[in-house]
């Protein structure tokens, strides 16, 4: 229930206080942290955002999307194409918007059908776009790659921070609204949900598009990390894999779990990339398989089990 009375305000006070401290730290850290650390924190923000936005749709509705790499890549290419034409914040919004439109198109064609068709379609989507972009670049512009306008790590950090805050706001907002019940009901029994007055098609397509927006905006932001991009870099299937892994690992139905999962696995990735750069895809694949086999509710499920 969403009713706060005086008693629970006192109970929540420590949490609110902690959040306040974190917010102040987050807002000011570029002033006193080393650039390398800022970039690492930005990286964590990126994975938290794409994990949360993936789980927002695919978690409750059980329509598994493997399209995150497509939206992320569209965002990256938006940055490459529009980076010199407009200010950075606008590029980021455009990247989100382009992905939003793409998701609407994908949703309108595939979300009318069973979940498997949707998943299949999203699986090949990033490859399809990669091939199309590659063909276009080779035949029309003669080059394979593009240069990206580079942006300093501090504005990138703040942009990601804002995207993160907006994503959290949207996820918590939906989580407390009747649309959270609607999304779950779609995953449980779509036909019944339709009969109870939920416009199932509109909810599915809408929420899918919103999640794509965040992936696209994040891609547009991250593009500035690389000075040179090409279709293989931009549409890397790993960006579809990571949010799925992190959300499943953290707990597919818990926002906190997803954040913890994303943070933990991003830090692990940093470690693996320095120590075992040739093994990290392998290790991550193994983690996903292990989680599915032994921890179906992720570490949140484990935490609940331990509490008992």
């Amino acid at each position: 229930m969403d009713n706060l009375n005086k008693g629970s305000f006192l109970k929540y006070f420590p949490v609110i206080f902690a959040l306040l401290i974190i917010s102040v730290l987050a807002a000011t850290c570029p002033l006193y942290l080393a650039p390398f650390t800022i970039i690492s924190v930005t990286n964590i923000f990126i994975y938290v955002v794409i994990t949360l936005s993936w789980a927002l749709f695919s978690g409750p509705t059980r329509y598994i999307s493997i399209a995150t790499a497509a939206f992320f890549g569209m965002g990256i290419y938006t940055s490459a194409l529009a980076g010199e034409l407009m200010p950075f914040p606008l590029v980021v919004c455009l990247g989100g918007f382009v992905s939003f439109i793409l998701a609407l198109l994908v949703g309108m064609s595939t979300l009318r059908l069973k979940g498997m068709y949707f998943t299949i379609f999203t699986f090949g989507l990033s490859e399809l776009i990669r091939h199309t972009v590659l063909w276009w670049e080779v035949t029309r512009t003669g080059t394979v790659g593009r240069w990206v306008v580079s942006v300093d790590h501090t504005p990138v950090y703040y942009t990601m921070l804002i995207i993160l805050i907006v994503t959290l706001a949207v996820c918590y907002g939906i989580g407390r609204s009747r649309y959270w019940l609607a999304l779950q009901s779609i995953g449980q029994s779509e036909e019944a949900a339709d009969h109870m007055g939920v416009n199932v098609t509109a909810v599915k397509i809408g929420v899918f598009a919103v999640s794509a927006f965040f992936a696209g905006a994040t891609g547009a932001t991250m593009a500035t990390r690389w000075t040179y991009i090409d279709p293989s870099i931009a549409f890397n299937p790993l960006f579809s894999f990571m949010p799925i892994l992190m959300a499943t690992f953290g707990g597919i139905n818990s926002i906190t779990g997803q954040i913890v999962g994303a943070v933990a696995l991003t830090l692990l990735a940093d470690l693996l990339l320095t120590e075992f750069p040739y093994y990290y895809m392998l290790i991550y694949g193994v983690i996903l398989v292990m989680v599915i086999l032994f921890l179906p509710n992720g570490i949140t499920g484990l935490a609940k089990y331990v509490k008992k």
Partner: protein, 238 residues
């Protein structure tokens, strides 16, 4: 006053006509029973009325308005709610959440507390008070059927379609269910129920419609229908 009018409704799947041209009406406030052997087309008819399936031909009018071919969520907003022969609950959601979903998508401006207590009222009507926080899939079949009724009621319907809600209930559960349906009728909701449990049909129906092979073959007061020659034939004959 006629709340539902079905004219010439036909539904064919491939070459097979599940519903082969049916005309009938339901009056506001009545309880109408829909009976017939298995495969007679009763659930298909429900699917046609609720919008789960579009008719091959024919018209359906609700409160004078043509609702033929509308999507289920639009038909729900018009005021028709239903239960399902094979229970379609939101299994991992709690009992109260199942009802809350339906309620909050009907009554837009409901606050948390108000919605919660209104939904508890629905649960009270069907006798599920006290089970709010249990996941729906953990209920017994009988209670699951009751929950489906509560969920349907939460959409504030003017007409309720009940699809074999008494199937598999023992005699005392049947008596309780009959009570519940009578109470629902008392609030002014029109009820159309598919049933095989004759006790319920005889006791609560104001009128009975008999289906066979996708066609309406008889209708009228329960005592009259049960004594009808054709009806007896289809239930006893080959």
């Amino acid at each position: 006053m006629r709340i539902l009018e079905v004219a010439g409704i036909k539904k064919s799947f491939g070459g097979l006509a599940a519903v082969a041209g049916v005309d009938f009406h339901i009056d506001r406030g009545e309880v109408a029973g829909l009976i017939g052997p298995n495969g007679a087309g009763k659930t298909t008819l429900f699917n046609l009325i609720s919008g789960a399936v579009t008719p091959t031909s024919g018209k359906i009018k609700f409160k004078g308005k043509d609702i033929t071919g509308l999507k289920p969520n639009k038909i729900c907003r018009q005021g028709i709610a239903r239960t399902f022969q094979l229970v379609k609950l939101f299994g991992d959601m709690t009992v109260i959440e199942n009802v809350l979903l339906a309620y909050r998508f009907r009554a837009q401006k409901s606050t948390g507390n108000e919605a919660f207590s209104r939904c508890q009222e629905m649960l009270d009507i069907v006798g599920l008070l006290g089970l709010e926080l249990i996941p729906a899939r953990e209920l017994t079949i009988a209670k699951q059927k009751q929950l489906e009724i509560a969920r349907a009621l939460a959409t504030m319907p003017e007409m309720l379609l009940l699809d074999e809600v008494m199937a598999g209930l023992n005699p005392s559960e049947v008596t309780k269910a009959i009570e519940i349906i009578k109470n629902i009728q008392a609030t002014g909701i029109t009820i159309l129920m598919v049933e095989h449990v004759m006790k319920a049909i005889m006791e609560i129906s104001d009128r009975v419609i008999v289906f066979h092979n996708g066609e309406k073959i008889a209708e009228g007061k329960p005592a009259h229908v049960v004594a009808d020659e054709t009806v007896i034939q289809i239930y006893l004959g080959g």
